[in-house]
């Protein structure tokens, strides 16, 4: 069983990892220097949606289990495939972007194919260790990452210019309220929390850890957007693929500590490995539950390799980022709608059944 701390650790990490790679740029394209306001706005929406969704789910039953209870095998398979697709699309760009970033920052002379292969092997190995093992490591690692993240932000203060955050509404109120909704995709990982429901002791743990994850993850997102917006003026802020890496490059403590990005990337890499291993394990479990299989471990390698196959379809990294931008623009809809619809139908179904039995 996963504890409250373990559960919140893995969901906070899942939310923050997206912010460490390419996600912030997509939001800056729409919301410009007001991206941090957008992050505040979508955090509030995500919190509200989670409050609604968590009320719909009974203890220890996730969206796939409820789909099965509602409509049997057929609905379960349709729901399972939809959930799998949402999670796979959410994760697929990391498989290609992460090795490219590592090559750029840490291992410039190493072939990206070698880094990618090692990454995939580690993900398969990590996922095979199981969700509990990943959660335990995550619980230990998160405070370390938190301290490094805090130090990282502190070191950026001399480079901040609050004038860059003006005009306060960036590209306009509409861009925040309508286009900014796509930033809800950063909370798409809350679907994992739902999938993990059978591993959670009681619904109280589910509720507490979900709220904590949204608030901490949202706060990290707001801080990253705020600092990036205050260090890089708009439209220059839309030109860099990995905004957090650009922020790291600004840090210059002295002649001997002028390239701290390698240290930061090392820490973020551990976060990304844990995130990827979690995704490998969760995707395999979703597949198992969808098709009623007995084991999930044998599925991990084929699923991860399959995702690598999808990730290399776009010809260039730029094409992949364009594809990712489109995904992130719409992903939040199925990520929140699927558990919401299944939960509402289940509630109605459950009420009808109780009325019949009475």
């Amino acid at each position: 069983m996963l504890t409250n701390k373990q559960l919140s650790s893995i969901i906070i990490n899942a939310i923050v990892v997206k912010m460490l790679v390419t996600f912030p740029r997509n939001i800056f394209v729409y919301c410009a220097n007001a991206s941090w306001l957008t992050a505040v706005y979508v955090t509030a929406i995500a919190f509200g949606l989670f409050i609604v969704i968590q009320k719909l789910y009974p203890s220890k039953e996730n969206v796939i289990a409820l789909a099965d209870r509602i409509g049997g095998r057929g609905i379960r398979i349709i729901t399972g495939i939809a959930v799998f697709a949402v999670l796979a699309l959410n994760f697929v760009s990391i498989v290609r972007v992460f090795p490219a970033v590592i090559r750029l920052v840490l291992l410039q002379k190493t072939y990206v194919e070698i880094i990618g292969t090692i990454f995939v092997l580690v993900v398969i190995f990590g996922a095979s260790c199981g969700i509990e093992a990943i959660a335990r490591v995550q619980q230990l690692f998160l405070p370390v990452a938190g301290v490094v993240f805090g130090a990282f932000l502190l070191m950026l203060i001399p480079d901040m210019n609050f004038g860059y955050l003006m005009p306060v509404f960036g590209n306009g109120v509409k861009s925040i309220l309508v286009d900014g909704l796509s930033a809800l995709s950063v909370f798409a990982d809350l679907l994992i929390l739902n999938i993990l429901l059978p591993r959670i002791k009681d619904s109280d743990t589910y509720k507490k850890s979900g709220r904590k994850a949204i608030l901490f993850g949202g706060a990290c997102a707001v801080l990253i957007f705020f600092f990036y917006g205050a260090c890089y003026s708009y439209p220059a802020s839309t030109e860099f693929i990995v905004p957090v890496y650009q922020l790291e490059r600004l840090i210059n403590l002295s002649d001997f500590f002028s390239r701290l990005e390698a240290l930061f990337q090392f820490i973020w890499s551990i976060s990304i490995f844990l995130y990827s291993a979690l995704y490998g394990a969760v995707l395999a479990e979703v597949w198992r539950d969808t098709f009623g299989l007995r084991h999930s471990k044998p599925l991990i390698a084929p699923i991860v390799i399959g995702l690598v196959g999808i990730a290399v379809i776009p010809e260039s990294l730029n094409d992949l980022l364009h594809f990712e931008g489109i995904i992130n623009r719409w992903l939040y809809i199925p990520a929140f709608i699927i558990p919401l619809i299944i939960g509402v139908i289940y509630k109605l179904f459950h009420v009808k059944q109780s009325e019949k039995s009475e």
């Binding site: 220097n33 004038g163 306060v168 960036g170 590209n171 708009y234 220059a236 490059r249």
Partner: protein, 425 residues
């Protein structure tokens, strides 16, 4: 037992992988310290200056080199910087790397056409640090050839100490990152340091140069002539000093390179140059001076200048009247008297008069830059951002912004501390 063996094999395998550099050893890399870009008939002339590790103190020679020995220059004609480095790689045995490059010197001819392409390369290149300096010179290659540090045996340190003057000094404190940010955001126009060479001077022997007398006054006649071109400052602030352009100060012997003055930009285009005293004023207006020495004219003692150490107590404050296009700049400076004639110790209200001299000097500077050159160096248009709610509305306003229409008034509050070991009353 099997598990133990697996652990041992894993530890040994990981240890072997972590034991040394994979790929290129640092000794195989040639570190470019500076890059000069001049116009050529077809493309550009790139002067690639790289460190000579055997001459740098602690290198193979242990004792280090002398003068210009610590760097080597190579001139390559190429269409882009990467093509130039690739070409140079086939000439130099080491693999050239930009990861320690500290400065890019660009010729005025190129700067007049715009620097956006060059700064884009800097911003997008992963090797080059965002805090690399950009300087403008009449002839970039000549400047780099003239760089022969005498008391500094690390070329990167030489550029760092020259261009990163924490006290303000005779050059603007802007680097490539700031320039890129200024022109892409359109919030302000930028100023970059000017570099140049003291020309026509006979070489001094290596033996003399090796003594480390960087400040020697042994000038050639031609250098003295050039020195005479500089005009003395007449507005009270910086009294008696000359408003030098690079190459005019001529106080170095072995090291002919000079860095002083401002290259003024409008967007990414170089539009004019200002002298070393103007750079002092610019640094005051940008809030970037501390313990900077300034000389003042005192009407009660016209023959003897008064020197003060200036410090900015607060960042300059801007009160902007958008309708009448007027700006009131409030400066708060604190000074310490460094030299004052004994007979004028009780010179009344020197604080007020010194403040007024700063007012006059800054207003004169702003008049020349804004009304004369049409450059928004202080970023007045960027300060309007807070009056707008969206970027679109702000951009529409910026299109109508003309620096030449703006008037400036400066109000300086200068307080003299009168601390130190000498009694002044």
């Amino acid at each position: 037992m099997n598990k133990m063996m697996l652990k041992i094999i894993t530890i040994v395998a990981v240890s072997l992988m972590l034991s040394s550099c994979v790929g290129e050893e640092p000794n195989d890399i040639g570190y470019i310290t500076a890059l000069g870009i001049d116009k050529a008939e077809d493309g550009y002339n790139y002067t690639i200056q790289f460190a000579n590790p055997t001459k740098i103190s602690g290198g193979a020679s242990e004792s280090g080199g002398t003068g210009g020995d610590i760097v080597e220059n190579l001139v390559v004609e190429a269409p882009t910087v990467y093509a130039a480095i690739s070409h140079a790689d086939s000439i130099v045995s080491k693999d050239l790397s930009l990861s320690h490059a500290k400065i890019i010197v660009i010729s005025e001819e190129i700067a007049k056409e715009g620097l956006s392409e060059i700064t884009d390369v800097v911003a997008r290149n992963n090797d080059i640090r965002p805090d690399i300096y950009i300087a403008i010179a009449e002839d970039a290659g000549e400047y780099l050839e003239g760089v022969k540090p005498v008391v500094e045996l690390n070329p990167v340190k030489y550029y760092q100490l020259t261009y990163e003057n924490k006290k303000g000094g005779p050059v603007p404190q802007n680097n490539a990152g700031e320039f890129y940010m200024a022109y892409t955001s359109g919030d302000r126009d930028c100023a970059l340091p000017l570099a140049g060479v003291a020309g026509g001077e006979k070489e001094k022997s290596d033996t003399d140069a090796g003594t480390g007398e960087e400040g020697s006054q042994d000038q050639s006649p031609s250098e003295n002539d050039k020195n005479k071109n500089a005009k003395p400052v007449e507005n009270g602030f910086g009294s008696g000093t000359k408003n030098y352009m690079p190459g005019e100060a001529g106080v170095q012997v072995k090291n002919k390179s000079e860095t002083m003055g401002i290259a003024v930009f409008c967007g990414d285009t170089y539009i004019g140059r200002l002298g070393s005293s103007d750079a002092d004023i610019y640094n005051i207006l940008m809030g970037e001076i501390s313990n900077s020495k300034a000389t003042f004219y005192d009407e009660y003692n016209p023959d003897t200048p008064i020197t003060m150490s200036l410090e900015e107590k607060r960042a300059p404050q801007f009160e902007i009247d958008r309708e009448n296009k007027k700006v009131l700049i409030k400066l708060k400076l604190e000074a310490e008297l460094l030299s004052i004639p004994k007979k004028h110790k009780n010179s009344p209200a020197i604080d007020i008069r010194a403040g007024e001299m700063v007012d006059r000097a800054t207003e004169d500077f702003l008049h020349r830059v804004y009304n004369g050159m049409g450059s928004d160096l202080l970023g007045i248009r960027g300060k309007f951002k807070r009056f707008f709610l969206s970027n679109q509305k702000y951009r529409e306003y910026v299109k109508t912004f003309d620096p030449k229409e703006w008037q400036f008034e400066v109000s300086t509050e200068l307080r003299i501390k009168r601390t130190g070991m000498t009694y002044y009353y």
